[in-house]
Symmetry: D3
Subunit: 238 residues, 6 copies
């Protein structure tokens, strides 16, 4: 039995609220249970220097946790003067995941920035960030199409992410903080709605995992991502 009383293949309650703040072209509050992240998407003309003259656009992501989004206070990275290693690792993952959702060739001279700011953390902040950022991205792209910044729609398919883990020898879906801290393996998986994996990151915290455990975890992740695609679709249709 899981601490939360959930079945092994249950996600937490996942909700995505659009137009959460008013200035960004896309802005959502995504919740995976008690994990809550504000994801905004900014769309602008121009590309970074290394892409000048290339016939494509760019998409990047930044991630941060409010100092008191966690149980004890973390030093504010802006005050400390640098982003921590975990932050850097996560924001690179978010960027790669969402770049898989768009065709850069269809957004020449356009940049999109996704900001994921965790206001409350309870495990799975990176998967919530990716899943929520997709909806903010879709809104920003719709804005860009409406304003004529984009001539073609660069969105190819949905992207969602979920965590899976081995806890007590059994694969479980969407770990909260309590489960995460005692899992043998912690895996974050990103999928597209067209099918297929775009990113898999698995770490054995205690016992190494086998190929067959791996296969089980992938299947469970697919169940979770299918559910998130439905939540994203519902949010975008509301």
């Amino acid at each position: 039995m899981r601490p939360s009383g959930r079945q092994n293949d249950d996600t937490r309650a996942i909700t995505i609220q659009r137009q959460f703040t008013k200035h960004a072209e896309g802005s959502v509050l995504v919740s995976f249970g008690d994990t809550k992240v504000i994801c905004t998407a900014t769309i602008e003309a121009g590309v970074p220097r290394f892409l000048r003259g290339e016939d494509q656009g760019w998409l990047t992501a930044e991630y941060s946790m409010l100092p008191r989004s966690t149980n004890t206070r973390n030093q504010r990275e802006a005050a400390r003067g640098k982003q921590g290693g975990r932050t850097v690792e996560i924001q690179r993952l978010i960027g790669r995941a969402l770049r898989a959702a768009v065709d850069m060739k269809k957004m020449p001279n356009v940049s999109i920035t996704l900001d994921c700011d965790v206001i409350q953390a309870d495990g799975g902040t990176r998967t919530a960030s990716i899943s929520g950022a997709y909806v903010a991205l879709a809104d920003a792209i719709a804005f860009g199409m409406a304003k004529g910044l984009l001539k073609k729609n660069p969105l190819m398919h949905k992207v969602a992410a979920i965590s899976v883990g081995m806890v007590g020898g059994v694969p479980v879906l969407d770990l909260d903080y309590i489960e995460d801290s005692k899992a043998d393996t912690d895996m974050n998986i990103v999928m597209t709605s067209a099918g297929g994996f775009v990113e898999v990151q698995g770490t054995a915290e205690a016992e190494p995992f086998t190929g067959s455990q791996f296969a089980e975890m992938l299947k469970l992740a697919e169940v979770g991502c299918r559910h998130i695609f439905d939540v994203q679709e519902a949010a975008l249709n509301s």
Copy 2:
């Protein structure tokens, strides 16, 4: 007539929602119209090095704006590697304002950190931060009393802040972004519920102001702060 249709001595709708996030000892979402700030208070044993051996506690504040809390995206300070001058100036003001609410001698070896993170900005983010942070502070102090971290209650009185400005030669209360950008003078005023000013910062953006205009603005600020004290009281009693 003001752009918002408000009377000159009207504030915007001011609301304070407690227990906004779950981990901090005090956590509120404060809104001054479309300006929205998450204020959390962290209370901990220990004091910074420069106070070791002194028989008192410490209180400090940090301020930040989410990159897309504003109309165009600001570079993330953590990514840039330093806090901007405006951020530093504001967080020092917040710290001084809230230190006026507590008797440091009554909180030996205890530190309180107030984090004010603006999620949506429409003028008056520093006054909203101070007014909201007071409620988070009160909750954290109650927590500290209940847990025995504090033996005596260091809270002396409420603290609130509001902006006033001269617009078209007339003093107006609680400027939103549109008014702020065309005001001749922009003044931020911090008061205590015991009466009296604890901080006054006035800047003539265009025309210098006179002593009598100053007096008028102080009176208007007092009206605004009285209203905020009521909102704080109601929030703490709910």
Copy 3:
């Protein structure tokens, strides 16, 4: 009786020595009693990026204290790798104050930088900096006019600053370090010679202050600034 033996409305001996160093277009040594600051003004063609294409100029200020300008040594900010919060707050104040002295529209594509370096501190370094920087600014503008960098004179009026405080319930003018450390209220006031306040920053260190105390302090500040305008005038005529 004040520690220095001064009357409540007396400033310290205020002197401004022009051409203190030889390279800058404006260079003064300003003394407010034992507080001594080197203020230089640099005038150059060009404006910062955010003003390109705008038909105006720019003026900015930087402030620093020599490590041993104070009673105990402060860590050198260049060695530490960042400017402290107090430094940032003060240099922003100096910049705003002196921008009130010039009409930016009359100095298209011209930048002026004011450097205020405190070599000896005894209270009131920011007010001495502003009052001295005005003279350096006037010299740099005269240089710019003579060299044809400026077509019109952007200088509108003098700017001076002085501190006032409530000490033992009584308002006093131009506090030195000893008085400053025991004042209930510390206020820094910037005025123009055309009349009117351009910046007021008051902080209640201990007891909050009332509206009528505020009015008294403003009057005292006006006495002080009138005296400084005379000292500036005399320096510029010498």
Copy 4:
């Protein structure tokens, strides 16, 4: 046919030269074809602050590329003043991988630092770093045992890493730079000699990958890691 003429399940020539430099307790030059990395291990008494009082040791890793280890020169991170995101991501991976090789409980109050400095890059620098760092680690632990710094041997099993990728729809082993830049999927896999995966990081650069492709890639990785365990064993026995 692969550009290098290798079979799909062939690694490049993998060699590990011990005692490459003379000061470190463990020092190797590891080559995966033209990718060459100096891995050193430093063993010291003491643990970082966050582990004080815990009855365990610590192991961490740092990674860097010489500016001209690549085809065009990269800015030196020390000169730039910060480590890039890719560097941070890789050194965190190396640290997690090698922590899986040791039982921290058996090395109380002992810290080990693994430095991986790439002197020539041709794809697979992170997998070469992990595979070489294991041998440096084993030498440092032997040194620690001989000197009495360690009472028990904390080494549990070997750790090796290899990359696999989907190129033209076919899984291939140990990609060099040319293959890497045109692969659909790039995956880095870390295994222990006891069997089982400790880290899997797969990214679909172009086409998402399926569960069965994943299974194929894992099998190929196992072939590669078995070979590396033999190379490590031979090096340690020489």
Copy 5:
């Protein structure tokens, strides 16, 4: 004929004014012609971490130029967030030079910091800094002896520095900025009053120099240093 009209073995007017600022234990204004540097010496109990437990003291130096000490404005290093290479090089030289004046063993648990801040530059700022810092150091040591911080006098002999150069094939003493910028060789030499060189740094800017030119330059430097020892002595006796 030199631009200044000086003979080849003439220094500029060298003056050292003690007690230039009031807070530091040693404080001088040193002038080498138009080069003017404020040198302060701070003496304190305590040593840096790397000397704890060693039975000796420490002496270090920091150097800076005010942004407008030069003909065009240099960016302020504190604002830029790091000290430039030239600054670092010079302050290391100053520290080494003055450490040659004291016996560290005679100042256990005492630290001395020398701050050299150039307020006006016209060539030779590092030699002026060293020569002036010696007098500030002597005053700080006298202070430390009087206060009982020092039991024995650690001062061994005077230290002075001067520049020499090859200009048009001829060795000249104490180059000003104009000469410095066209010299073939620029050499900075530090001597003790007991005789002997403690630091020699020579750079051929254009033509390499020969051993015999070297010998000539050393002789000239000795003339200059002898003169500075007299100036230092006179200042300390005044």
Copy 6:
């Protein structure tokens, strides 16, 4: 007798291996006994901003030590976020020394960067860096000539560097770490193959040195540099 058994005018075994790594236009491994440095030269079109429009090229150098190139581990400068003072001092020396080998006027719009990375340190890392960097520079210039990036050969003569010191009152050549740590004087000397000194940096660590000791040390350095010119020549001809 020297610890190494060498004669006073003997260098250690000096070897220079070209084409040490494959990407750089020039790449050598230089050894002065147990001191080993990788020197690479990068040649590129373009010059830094301060040389735009000038009809010349540029050459600069960077220096670093691998964290475990020394007996105890040094903190990695990239992780620490800044280069240390010693590093800055040395890389400025290397840059000045090698600029003496080329005629910048003959390499318009071309930049050369020399990277010296110490993989094993045993005294004399800066002199080994300079001596090795010369060979890497020569290879990069040959590359630039072959590719048409350079129209004329900017190389004027060889540059080499060696250390000399006073140990027990006697001048000795090419000190290793053991000798260096007990030398009275440590001097680094850079010469050109055309004759003449381009850089001399001598520091009296203990006893000041005399003019005649200086002359002796220069003569010894000349012996050492002649030998290095031969080693460089042989390497370039191989």
